[in-house]
């Protein structure tokens, strides 16, 4: 189960819709784990906010929560923590289902854009004309993650794998697959 929560998972034991016969997933990619830090820290800060408001006496006396009846405070507090839980769920789903799959036949990009929109696109290796990767900024260099871009032939849209771990390794793997795949 821990492997399923990995951002760089070789030979994952998973299946996806429209998987062809004889098609095996070589690599599953998600955004680097470190990119989740901002929302985890935000959730942590939001969890402590009611404690600060209730016990820190930071609000003016007219807005003091102690003026409210206890049942209102309780419902407001529980609602707040339910929202924090929802915030964590949404951000986790956003990370978990934004997946790029490198298979022995093609490249599949699944984008979970928001709650009401999902996009899946794919390209064969024979249609990829150019692959490039870049790692920019202190954060990306320190944690070895970055973007890999693919220029595809014809009217197919270009692919971008963003903030994935080990972009150089992914670049190598895909260039190898491009040379070995039948055109």
């Amino acid at each position: 189960m821990i492997n399923s929560l990995s951002a760089y998972h070789k030979d994952p034991k998973i299946t996806f819709k429209d998987q062809e016969q004889g098609e095996t997933i070589l690599l599953l990619l998600r955004r680097h784990l470190i990119t989740n830090v901002w929302w985890l820290l935000t959730a942590l800060a939001l969890s402590f906010l009611p404690v600060v408001i209730l016990f820190g006496r930071v609000l003016p006396p007219a807005l003091d929560p102690a003026l409210l009846p206890g049942n209102y405070t309780l419902v407001a507090l529980l609602t707040w923590y339910l929202f924090v839980f929802g915030f964590v769920i949404i951000n986790f789903l956003d990370w978990f289902f934004n997946v790029d799959l490198v298979t022995n036949k093609r490249l599949v990009d699944m984008d979970y854009v928001n709650l009401l929109f999902f996009k899946s696109s794919e390209t064969n290796y024979s249609k990829i004309e150019d692959v490039s990767y870049h790692v920019s900024g202190l954060f990306q260099v320190s944690f070895n993650f970055g973007d890999v871009s693919f220029q595809t032939a014809g009217t197919q849209e270009n692919f971008d794998l963003t903030e994935i771990p080990n972009p150089a390794g992914v670049h190598d793997l895909i260039t190898d697959l491009m040379t070995t795949s039948p055109s």
Partner: protein, 72 residues
């Protein structure tokens, strides 16, 4: 005058809290549907756990809405 103003504020607050909880309940239902949909597209061993997680979120939102209706 002061009493009526206080009760007016409390009724407004009650309506705001109930509205928020009702909207959150709709959001929770959408999340459950989305996870079921995505679980079919990408089947991993974490998918059942995710279903339990979003199911718990839905149950919690429903329970809180009922609690608010009872005690407010």
């Amino acid at each position: 005058m002061l009493i009526s103003l206080t009760s007016y504020i409390l009724i407004s607050l009650k309506l705001v809290l109930l509205s928020i909880l009702f909207l959150y309940l709709i959001f929770s239902v959408i999340v459950v549907g989305k996870v079921r949909f995505l679980g079919k597209i990408l089947a991993t061993d974490v998918s059942p756990l995710l279903s339990v997680l979003v199911g718990a979120n839905l149950m919690a939102s429903l329970a809180l809405l009922l609690l608010a209706l009872i005690i407010l």
